[in-house]
């Protein structure tokens, strides 16, 4: 009952886990059928690895060691790896929740038939998000295992970092769904891609935020990936402090706001 009231307040519509789960299940079925989509999802794991080797190791050889806020110095690869994990969580979630979601809504008209069932628009949104999370957790999990194997982090810290990476994915999945409901054409995704890429480059990912000009530092600290990078880096490099709670809070708020917006927009778009 309480959950019903909460979801009504956030989403403005009925939300049952079982029906949202059926929407997630549809994607799992499509994934398990194999073929190109399976390869696409599985090969997504390779992307952060390629960046890790090219930038962390290749450019890292030119950079040398990086100082951490707590006074330690670490290899550039160690500095970069947690940020790439957060960025991978973002990219995985955004890919599924924007492009694929938009294509299903506008072109495949997939939801038209789903809406003839008891499933509500909000449940579709949550179901899609559920799948984006499954996909994101595959990437995060694999990357964390690699980080532990390479000695960038310890297995214990990797375990703690896993839910943190999922939270980053949740936040970006929710933002992505919200964006997909206001997109008009594929052209809009060009703009979104650029913004996403800017976040990837300038969220303290490749260099510490402290090395940016002050005005830029302020702006960066307002954006979501910054908080994701701070959180994941803080955990995996053993810099646990209360400031991480702020990062968590920020990401939770963004997730709820994104979902509430997406659900309301979807009802408007789909129940004409």
């Amino acid at each position: 009952m309480v959950t019903t009231l909460v979801t009504r307040a956030v989403a403005g519509d009925e939300l049952r886990a079982r029906r949202a789960g059926a929407v997630t299940g549809r994607n799992v079925t499509a994934f398990r059928a194999g073929g190109a989509y399976w390869w696409l999802v599985i090969s997504g794991m390779a992307e952060p690895l390629l960046y890790l080797f090219a930038i962390g190791w290749g450019v890292g050889a030119l950079v040398g060691d990086m100082p951490l806020p707590d006074g330690r110095t670490v290899s550039y690869l160690t500095f970069l790896a947690p940020a790439l994990l957060a960025a991978a969580a973002m990219n995985g979630a955004v890919a599924e929740s924007t492009m694929n979601f938009f294509a299903k809504m506008k072109f495949a008209k997939l939801y038209d038939s789903v809406l003839n069932t008891p499933v509500t628009p909000v449940e579709i949104a949550f179901g899609e998000l559920g799948w984006a999370m499954m996909r994101g957790s595959m990437y995060s999990g694999a990357f964390l295992v690699l980080m532990a194997v390479m000695g960038v982090t310890t297995p214990a810290l990797a375990l703690v970092a896993f839910p943190a990476a999922l939270l980053v994915g949740f936040a970006f999945g929710a933002i992505g769904l919200a964006l997909a409901t206001v997109m008009r054409t594929w052209q809009d995704f060009d703009y979104m891609g650029v913004v996403q890429f800017a976040l990837f480059l300038f969220s303290g990912t490749f260099v510490p935020v402290s090395s940016y000009p002050v005005a830029m530092q302020v702006i960066v600290q307002l954006t979501p990936l910054y908080h994701g990078v701070e959180l994941v880096r803080g955990i995996t490099l053993d810099m646990l402090s209360w400031s991480l709670a702020w990062n968590v809070l920020y990401l939770v708020v963004v997730t709820l706001a994104g979902l509430a917006f997406a659900a309301r927009r979807m009802r408007k778009l789909l129940r004409k």
Binding site: L40, G44, I55, G58, L62, F189, D190, F197, A198, S211
Partner: protein, 277 residues
Amino acid sequence: MAGGGTPADLDAAVTAAAPQGVRAVHPAMAVLEYFLVGYKRVWRGTVFSSFALPVLFFLGMGVAVGAYVDRGGNLDMPYLQFIAPGLLAFTGLQIAMMESGFPVLGNFKWHKIYFGMASAPLRVGDMLLGQLGYISLRVLVAATGFLLVMVPFGAIGSAWAVLTPLVAVLVGLAVATPMFAYSATVQSPNLMAIMFRFGMLPMMLFSGVFFPVEQLPGALQPVAHALPLWHGVELSRAAALDVNAAWPVAVHAGYLALWCVVGFALARIRFIKRLAV
């Protein structure tokens, strides 16, 4: 991303090419014109993305990471100068692959544009040349824009830099032609995304744009040498900074030209095959 107008645009363009049976314009020009008509509708978004991505890379890697690289002194030039010509060559790769990926698949699978062209008096060679001309223009504009951004950052060390946009075009054609062949073969958009992931991304990361190829393990170096982007990066860096390329300039350029020729031949075969359905 859609790259193209409506079938009516095409008819108009083809008719303009051959009024009353007199061939006033080469048919490939009609195809080019058709793509430019479509481009008029989408140029804002594409300018933003095709120009913004390399510029963001330039700022994020060249300027921000560059400060840390230069502190180490492991390169014999400022990192900004090292990365800028490479990114310029990459601009050609990126636009060319994007434009010869989804749009080509779409023109076969959804919009059926090529089938419309094939039923007009156009040969496959004309269709390819026209669209390649369009892609070349796109690369040229973006690369020139990027070059102008680099100048105030002091990333350019030679007047020969004016040639770098042409290098970007050459790189673009070297990847666009085989990509045409690939896009004309596959059926699933997911396979397109996989090509970007395993074709474009590794090429971008390991072709000497961000760090010298000599740093790669010995076994991987020949792979980087075999792919087109490294040659473009070498040519571009040689022109922008007036330094020696790894190999003679003619070898780099000739190798890229070879990719263009073989790619074009493959694309032609795949187009003819797919149009014959």
